[in-house]
Subunit: 360 residues, 2 copies
């Protein structure tokens, strides 16, 4: 057990994916976690799962983390601030300005509230999807505001560090504009693309490849949650959608007569702008290009991929990322292996010497 | 060596990714492949790579496959039809109406031309990215037209089957509308989203997760190629973009005043429509849900993933798909394993018994 920065107890309100994951992570650090949920079923699952214990009379939490849907976040935060006048309260809602405004408007003691937003999640929800390391290495925004003191903020900083996340300080406004761009607008863009598939002929859908699947993946997200998120961050999302529409109009105009003077140049500029935008994304698949990838053919039989990875291990090369491409019906898959640039030529030789087919 | 349906020789014009892959696939079947490319460097790489031989006087190809960019496809097809009056000519351009119209307009003998489009590709291009099994299990559209006879079409059918692809017959119009929806519009949608990142603050980009990366992945594609594709399929692409803009306007309107009566219902309907669209996509991650996935924690050290996969092999379960999730800086990765539904509970038990942490 690793020593914790937090003392506890920590009360977690809402035992869904995020609340349960927070509970599991803090329990791993030996912290007393009190769980609460409007649903007794959720609560008992999360308790059985090891994410904490049920509330008891006399509980005096040091910190309260409200993990409920955005629509009810302010209401539950206000209730917790009142019920536990010694506790610091934070939340995990994916918008930060609206809850703070609502709390201020209803006269809640915001000197003990500081909003948070862990940028972590999974496609599945509910307590059983929770995992202790959900936040490891992920950004966790703390939305500072003037009414909170340095000492009070410390408990939230400790929570974030205890869970292995990366603390990012932003104002609520910066946060909401930021997530509008990197999360809320992509959701809308993906949803609208996916909507165009609803009345498409099956013959067209059968041609779909990975590109369409990637663009539309997040369109499978929960509408109930997203109505709340988009409603609570409407202005920043709308501003970006308006700029998006301007670009879309440029495409639509240029395609009206692609042979017209300048039409192709306009389309080329838009496409090059897209290249430039993607290149700004940090991380493995973005800008810094720390890794190079290698594609190896594997038969679709048990143990083949294991043998490949075992042999990569024997060569002493660490796998940074791996993706298996596999077409339905095909007897062959393609393992895309990402490794450090200095390892790639040696790995290619060693694998080829062991009979693997390197596809590039 | 598997017996081939084609007799050959087959002449492949353009030794890029597709041409080289076709050459490699046909050579695997023992077919005489003649390669041609405007670039002597490309040609010699492809020949050295085993994709075929250089042209020789007296060559009499049975079939010619033109694998050049869309803009010059019709011109090269016309040249090949004239140079080899006994040969059937096909192409691989990702639009089908424009080349046929251009050929008809210039008086080419289209009774020997039938357009094709393999739905296969890679992010990398060039002869060295070629691989013999690029087309295995992928759809390959044959764009039928009235001037071609059944006997003539047979050579192209054989080519497709020899390369392991799945023959799909469509009219050029159906094809172009289909790929506008499943490939060209997603490209535009992704490009415009990525463009919005060009002047974004780094603090926002640092919050980016997999959702944004997926939506913008294809925005990294080659602008030069895509200007040609979009220009050649402008009308179908534009029609879908106009419908896309209508939906976008509905979002923009609803977000102008999200508290207005009906605004949330409108957003919810759009989001639900997106769910329905994604659900129509066939394949592993779509509609038929043939596989279920299991997430297992793996340490970021050489050999860990190999050990996991070896143990899955020991349990006798076949891996249908695998994806490694790995946050930058994290010491833990999450292996998402897809298996047949009947195998999942046994696999979960067996892995847990071997000490693996199952995350859901």
């Amino acid at each position: 057990m690793v020593e914790s920065r937090l003392i506890g107890p920590v009360r977690v309100v809402g035992a869904g994916l995020l609340g349960t994951s927070i509970g599991l992570g803090l329990r791993n650090r030996g912290i007393d976690v009190i769980l609460a949920d409007a649903s007794p079923t959720n609560l008992s699952i999360a308790v059985d799962y090891g994410a904490g214990r049920a509330a008891a009379p006399g509980d005096a939490p040091q910190l309260i983390v409200v993990c409920v849907p955005p629509d009810v976040t302010a209401e539950i935060v206000a209730r917790e601030l009142e019920a536990f006048p010694q506790a610091i309260v934070t939340d995990v809602a994916s918008v930060k300005l609206a809850p703070l405004a609502e709390l201020t408007a209803c006269g809640a003691d915001v000197s003990r509230y500081i909003g948070g937003h862990p940028l972590a999640g999974r496609e599945r929800g509910g307590p059983l999807a929770g995992r202790a390391d959900l936040f490891v290495g992920r950004p966790w925004v703390v939305a500072a505001h003037d009414a909170i003191s340095y000492q009070q903020a410390t408990a939230i900083d400790d929570l974030i560090l205890d869970l292995g996340a990366i603390l990012v300080e932003m104002t609520p406004e910066e946060h909401d504009r930021g997530v509008a761009l990197i999360s809320h607008v992509p959701q809308v863009v993906s949803t609208i693309m996916a909507r165009r598939l609803t009345d498409a002929p099956a013959s067209a859908l059968n041609l779909a490849g990975q590109g369409l699947r990637d663009v539309t993946r997040v369109a499978a997200s929960d509408p109930e949650l997203w109505v709340q998120i988009l409603g609570a961050n409407a202005q920043p999302v709308r501003d970006i959608l308006l700029a998006y529409r301007d670009d879309l109009d440029r495409f639509i105009d240029a395609l009206a007569d692609p042979a017209a003077p300048g039409a192709r140049r306009k389309v080329a500029e838009e496409l090059a702008g897209g290249n430039a935008g993607v290149a700004r994304l940090p991380g493995k698949h973005g800008q810094d290009r720390r890794f190079v990838s290698l594609s190896v053919m594997v038969d679709d039989t048990p143990g083949q991929l294991a043998r490949l990875l075992a042999e990569i291990g024997e060569v002493g090369v660490n796998l940074e990322d791996l993706r298996l491409e596999h077409s339905p019906g095909a007897q062959l898959g393609l393992a895309e292996i990402s490794v450090l640039p200095e390892a790639v030529s040696r790995l290619t030789e060693e694998l080829a010497a062991r009979g693997w087919r390197i596809a590039g």
